[in-house]
């Protein structure tokens, strides 16, 4: 809105409505606002103001405090007379004190209701010093609206906000009043002073049984619940609530059907029902007290209350208790659950959440093992649950479906899920024999027709998918997803043999009917009619029902809401079964991914869904990999490469012997794709083309290719089942010296998987970018070490050529230059390759020597002496150590001297009692090779240690390639946490907003900028420690929260509008005052600060460091984050005029001596620009120890 720009919410509320509409010039409006003392520190324009205002804050806030306290005495003009001027918190507080004294006058009352109280609501919390006046008002005032406000504000004083002073309600952040009061040693009023008084008063009021007082009693009870965060008060509250319930709940309150909710009834019963409502609501807000029989008793009583909201609360309490102690709850409910009981009435209650709670309650009791022997009880509850499937509200029906499917909030159990699916496909809903229905014979036959759950559910879902409401679509897709999960669980447990999806579902019904002897004949007739209605001759199979549902689900992908689409895709992934073709799903996902609307968070969510799907059905590894590949090629910039790699890995292991080849192909196909073509839109829906149009995703793609190359090197041997230590090549032919062409032909015919991998890696070693080439060379070495002949010699030759650089000239025509320094040798890989070649050289030399020796021995026909054997063994060990530096090999099996050495080594070991396991002393550092130094995150933290030789070969091989099962590498992989968290269904933390898109909104970008500074502050703190700010007890996060709390006083997003102007003109003033020229927004308002007529002048500017400490001593002096900012910026400003700050957008690796490596997000100071390069300085030396150097302009964002 035009009229709001440049003003705070307080201004908006306070300003005269009539003067508002003509939109004022935006920049001129702000100053008035910014200088209201109390309001200003909390509002956005003033965030900016803080530069100058900050210094005055301490005194300002002290002023508020003393104002507030002495307000009653002070004779100041009432603020409302200056309608056009916004009122400050201090003014509001003052007027409350005054008006409370004169609350008997009509005028004061009006003033309170229309001006003071509404405006006070804007603030986050209420000053405890207001409490006496509020209590006075509550005692003396008759006006209902005033009293309502009084309870509202008392309730806001009560909650214990903890050290951070954060109340649950939002609003303009207020200072920590207690801290403030402490400063003012004499007159300060803290919460501790007033809370007991308030509690006393409210408790007395809550117990006042005067009829006139009745409504106040309810509100007092409500306000009291806000104190429930304080443990000392809790017992009192319980006592109070139970005391009221004692009086009102025990009287048998026969609810007459049909009239509750309607007006009528005698006064007494209405009052009782109101009290029942109030106390049940209060009880709901108190912490659950499982194991307390009174608590349970009272909650169960609530089910029969007349007030629908009270019933809802009681059901919610019971359903929560039931998850903890289902047996006790079921016993306590007893008759209520039976036909005609109060729970049946809930079915007809006009309160959606009450019915949802009922569904949950039924589910908890149904799944309880402790009730297995009480089938009668369970049957009551399950029949209730099935009836909820017919509920008119989608919310209730969906909840019931989820319950039937066996979903649970805490931990999903596969068996429960599987049984859930079985239940859904088999069970029949028999309509209840409600007495009221029995009477009407004609209708009865219609309503009592038993219905198959599956049909019911499918029909319901299909109709929901036709809805126009996005929440309904989203929820329906979610239900289908859950259905897929249960179905997958049933498949996994082999239950699907029982559930033949091709079978006519009606036969299940018939089977069920036969048990129900009496209804049998009738049943057949009914079922016949159901089938008929679905089309003559059409059998209803689970498969056909599912197919028609999935058809509707697929069409929902056309929804314009990306979140709905994401849910639909997840549902499709879950409903996809291993046997079906997934081409359709794949192309659907591919075309979806081309839509830029997809956020990174959503895409990663889907990727994690793939993970979960794989866990449920390992058979689908290849399918899932194919889908994951689409992500890798289409949106490399948006997905989490760690999670993707983890998926690759798990799927490769899960694919099994026959799927391994396909799985590896699916991963490495990334390497075969043509490079992205900027601007080409033709391949939008083709899954075989890389889409990386912007530098960020191009970079991400590059990283992904690196990952793929590394992955290939690590896992090719595993996928190809080719290992040097169990080579299929007979020992004698180990050194056959074929020429290269023949060798390749022989190799590829023997093991196409490995040959393919080799070819790909070789190509990458030539034409990839610098980083890819390095990794390709490492990958090749790994493969050379792990593979037997002729692969090893083939790689050796290749590496040799690569190191010489001889091949470079042949390729240089094809690959003119990618603008990179080619390095010292032809390929730039010389220095990297030489140690690798040396190992291979050593191995071959040793092998040659060994053969020579063997021949000598053979010719001379003499035995190997112990000395010779020892020498051989030492060489063997030395080479083993050397090899282990490059990649992991199983030491007990690996023979660097070739297969022929096996016998001799064995002889030596036997003689000297060296078991191969005792040789297994390889530390993690040795076992994890060089490649792991780069990708340590995805590697096992400890090398698997084989204790004997009897281990399963395949397992050893899996270990060898770092493909151990989850447990082994679970701890180390960051992606694992994400996956596990996802699988556990956790995650309520706040989302990150992508900053790239935020720029479209001016006010948002401002917010975000502020948010960033806050986060950066935290980062600076945390850098020294390895832990993130997420762990609650790390010092870093304490500081963060402190700074965010105090910084909260200046939340820019709150209650204010975008900065009025990004001031060019104001800059000089601002520079002179603070030197914060990097923050234009700050500049504009500090100018305003100077220009506006204020009474207190800011105190002299103190040094930033001092400021920083001050902000901790006294929260009111300034916000933590801004003091950090100033600290840093002051430092940066010493550099000179030309420089400015910036941060690295992407990782950058220095290509030469004068270049500087960057890590994305790193803060730098830009010194000057030259030819598309910035000369930047870092705050701290980087990993390479360099502080300054050149970086490409595009890699740095200038702030």
């Amino acid at each position: 809105m035009a009229d709001s720009s440049g003003t705070t919410l307080m201004d908006l509320i306070s300003s005269d409505p009539t003067s508002a509409p003509p939109p004022p010039s935006t920049s001129a409006q702000a100053p008035t606002a910014s200088h209201q003392r109390a309001a200003s520190p909390f509002s956005k324009p003033v965030t900016a103001t803080t530069t100058t205002d900050r210094k005055s804050k301490r005194s300002t806030l002290m002023q508020i405090q003393s104002d507030a306290v002495s307000a009653a005495r002070a004779a100041v003009r009432i603020p409302h007379k200056h309608k056009k001027k916004p009122v400050s918190y201090a003014q509001l507080a003052r007027s409350i004190h005054e008006l409370a004294a004169s609350s008997d006058q009509k005028k004061s009352q009006r003033q309170l209701v229309h001006h003071v109280f509404p405006k006070l609501a804007v603030y986050n919390s209420v000053d405890p010093s207001l409490a006496p006046s509020l209590l006075m008002l509550g005692q003396q005032c008759e006006d209902r609206t005033i009293l309502r406000y009084v309870y509202y504000y008392l309730a806001r004083i009560l909650p214990d906000t903890g050290a951070q002073g954060l109340t649950p309600g939002g609003g303009i952040p207020t200072p920590n009043w207690d801290a403030l009061a402490d400063i003012d040693a004499v007159g300060g009023v803290t919460r501790a002073d007033v809370v007991p008084r308030i509690l006393d008063r409210l408790s007395t009021e809550a117990l006042n049984s005067d009829i006139e007082f009745h409504p106040r009693r309810l509100q007092a009870l409500k306000a009291l619940t806000y104190a429930s965060t304080t443990p000392e008060i809790l017992p009192k509250l319980y006592e109070l609530v139970f005391g009221i319930l004692d009086k009102v709940a025990d009287t048998p309150d026969k609810r007459k059907k049909g009239i509750f909710g309607a007006k009528g009834g005698d006064k007494e019963s209405i009052i009782r029902s109101n009290l029942q409502y109030a106390s049940m609501s209060a009880l709901r807000r108190l912490p659950l007290d499982p194991g307390n029989p009174i608590f349970l008793h009272r909650a169960v009583q609530g089910v029969s209350f007349a007030d629908p909201v009270a019933v809802r609360h009681s059901l919610e309490i019971i359903s929560e208790l039931a998850t903890k102690d289902p047996y006790a709850v079921a016993m306590a409910l007893g008759k209520l659950a039976q036909t005609g009981g109060a729970l049946q009435d809930v079915l007809h209650l006009h309160d959606v959440l009450a019915r949802v709670a009922l569904a949950r309650l039924c589910h908890s009791i149904n799944r309880a093992k402790s009730l297995d022997e009480r089938a009668d009880i369970k049957s009551h509850f399950s029949s209730l649950l099935y009836q909820l499937l017919l509920d008119p509200s989608d919310r209730v029906c969906f909840e019931a479906i989820l319950c039937v499917l066996g979903k649970s909030d805490s931990a999903d159990r596969t068996e429960e899920r599987a049984i859930g699916w079985y239940r859904l496909t088999r069970e029949v809903l028999k309509a209840p024999e409600a007495p009221s229905v029995k009477d009407k014979d004609t209708k009865a036959s219609k309503t009592r027709r038993p219905q198959l759950l599956i049909k019911l559910v499918m029909r319901r879902l299909e109709s929901s998918f036709r809805s126009f409401s996005r929440p309904v679509l989203h929820a329906a897709a979610r239900v289908v997803q859950e259905m897929g999960k249960s179905r997958a669980a049933a498949f996994a447990l082999g239950l699907h043999d029982n559930i033949n999806e091709g079978e006519d579902v009606n036969t299940f019904a018939e089977n069920n009917e036969t048990e129900d002897g009496k209804a049998q004949a009738e049943g057949h007739r009914r079922i016949g009619s159901i089938s008929m209605s679905n089309g003559a001759g059409n059998k209803d199979t689970v498969a056909s029902l599912l197919a028609s549902l999935m058809e509707v689900v697929r069409t929902t992908i056309a929804c314009e809401c990306v979140y709905v689409r994401a849910m639909v895709i997840k549902a499709l992934i879950w409903m996809q079964s291993p046997q079906e073709t997934f081409a359709e799903l794949e192309s659907m996902i591919a075309s979806e991914l081309s839509d830029p609307a997809w956020s990174a968070a959503l895409l990663n969510d889907i990727l994690l869904t793939l993970h979960a799907r794989f866990k449920a059905t390992p058979d689908m590894a290849v399918t899932l990999l194919e889908i994951a590949r689409v992500f890798a090629t289409k949106v490399p910039g948006k997905i989490d490469a760690d999670v993707l790699q983890l998926l690759w890995k798990t799927c490769l292991v899960g694919a099994g012997p026959e799927g391994k080849h396909t799985a590896l192909e699916a991963v490495t196909i990334v390497l075969d794709l043509p490079p992205p073509q900027p601007g080409s839109m033709s391949g939008l829906t083709s899954i075989d083309r890389v889409s990386a149009f912007d530098p960020k995703s191009a970079l991400a793609l590059q990283r992904l290719v690196q990952a793929a190359v590394w992955f290939l090197g690590e896992n090719a041997n595993y996928a190809a089942s080719e290992y040097a230590w169990e080579s299929r090549t007979p020992p004698g032919t180990a050194l056959m010296m074929l020429d290269a062409d023949k060798m390749v032909a022989a190799a590829s015919s023997r093991n196409p998987t490995l040959a393919n991998a080799l070819t790909r890696l070789q190509r990458c070693a030539f034409i990839g970018s610098w980083e890819v080439r390095i990794i390709a060379a490492q990958a090749l070495t790994t493969m050379a070490i792990r593979s037997g002949e002729p692969y090893r010699i083939q790689i050796y030759e290749f590496l040799h050529a690569l190191a010489q650089g001889g091949v470079q000239s042949q390729f240089s025509d094809m690959h003119i230059s990618n603008g990179e320094d080619q390095g010292a040798s032809g390929t730039g890989l010389g220095s990297l390759l030489s140690p690798m070649l040396k190992v291979l050289d050593d191995m071959y030399n040793a092998q040659d020597d060994l053969i020579k020796e063997m021949r000598n021995h053979d010719n001379a026909k003499k035995e190997w002496s112990d000395e010779e054997l020892k020498k051989l063994y030492e060489t063997h060990e030395r080479l083993l150590d050397l090899v282990s530096l490059f990649c992991y090999v199983p030491r007990s099996k690996y023979l660097p001297l070739g297969p022929t050495s096996a016998k001799l080594i064995e002889i030596y070991r036997n003689r000297h009692n060296i078991t191969s396991s005792s040789v297994m002393r390889d530390s993690a550092a040795v076992a994890t090779g060089i490649s792991e130094l780069i990708y340590e995150a995805t590697k096992p933290s400890t090398a698997p240690v084989e204790s004997d030789n009897n281990l399963d070969d395949d397992l050893v091989n899996a270990w060898a390639t770092g493909l151990a099962d989850d447990g082994l590498w679970g701890n180390n992989a960051p992606a694992m946490n994400r996956v596990n968290e996802f699988l556990a269904g956790a995650g309520t933390d706040a989302p990150d907003v992508d900053d790239e898109n935020v720029i479209s909104r001016p006010s948002m970008s401002y917010d975000d900028m502020w948010a960033k500074t806050l986060l950066e502050t935290a980062e600076v703190d945390d850098d020294g420690r390895s832990s993130g700010s997420s762990s609650p007890d790390s010092v870093g996060s304490v500081e963060t929260s402190i700074s965010s709390h105090f910084g909260g006083m200046n939340y820019p997003s709150l209650f204010s509008s975008k900065p009025s102007s990004y001031g060019g003109s104001s800059q000089p003033t601002e520079k002179a005052s603070t030197g914060r020229h990097t923050r234009p927004s700050a500049g504009s308002s500090s100018y305003e600060g100077y220009g506006s007529p204020i009474s207190e002048e800011p105190p002299p500017y103190s040094s930033p460091v001092h400021q920083r400490f001050e902000s901790f001593e006294n929260p009111l002096t300034g916000q933590g984050s801004s003091s950090f900012d100033s600290h840093e910026e002051d430092r940066s400003s010493t550099g000179g005029n030309a420089q400015s700050g910036g941060s690295a957008l992407y990782d950058f690796t220095a290509g030469g001596d004068d270049e500087l490596s960057l890590t994305a997000g790193e803060e730098v100071e830009i010194e000057y620009e030259v030819d598309g390069w910035f000369y930047v300085k870092k705050k701290r030396p980087g990993r390479d120890g360099k502080m300054a150097g050149l970086v490409p302009v595009l890699y740095v964002s200038q702030s």
């Binding site: 809105m1 009229d3 709001s4 720009s5 919410l9 908006l12 509320i13 409505p17 509404p118 405006k119 609501a121 209902r144 309502r148 406000y149 509202y152 309730a155 649950p168 309600g169 939002g170 009745h214 409504p215 106040r216 619940t225 806000y226 209405i270 609501s281 709901r284 807000r285 909201v309 959606v352 949802v356 919310r395 996005r470 929440p471 989203h474 929820a475 979610r478 809401c561 979140y563 969510d605 996802f982 956790a986 995650g987 309520t988 933390d989 706040a990 989302p991 990150d992 907003v993 898109n997 935020v998 006010s1003 948002m1004 917010d1007 806050l1014 996060s1037 929260s1041 909260g1048 939340y1051 997003s1053």
Partner: protein
Amino acid sequence: MLLAVLIANSEGNILVERFNGVPGEERLHWRSFLVKLGADNLQGVKNEELLVACHKSVYIVYTVLGHVSIYLVGKDEYDELALSEAIFVVTSAIKDVCGKPPTERLFLDKYGRICLCIDEIVWKGLLENTDKDRIKRLIRLKPPTEF
């Protein structure tokens, strides 16, 4: 848990916010996430047409009413559909108080009463009253059911 109720004007400035069970450091993220969501999607949306989003296991339902946009964030039993119910209560209460879909001015003029309404609708992170008349009575300090 109904994690948050947030009302913003068309520019993305937050007018009312009530967080429940959201740690202080995360509020800022939620704010900017929601406001961005609105900025991206609420253009040209009809009054009270419901939009949906989710983040991990948290659901978001939001809509526009006159010149203000309303966001609800919830988890567990407060899924999309429960939030839809809740947002319906909030919008109808605001319409009741303002007499029509509010302009920002009107909304601010009725600010205090709207706060009281929200106080009656969402109480410590749980949906409380859903009935219009009941809310109306309660904010005037009358009992929920009159005698």
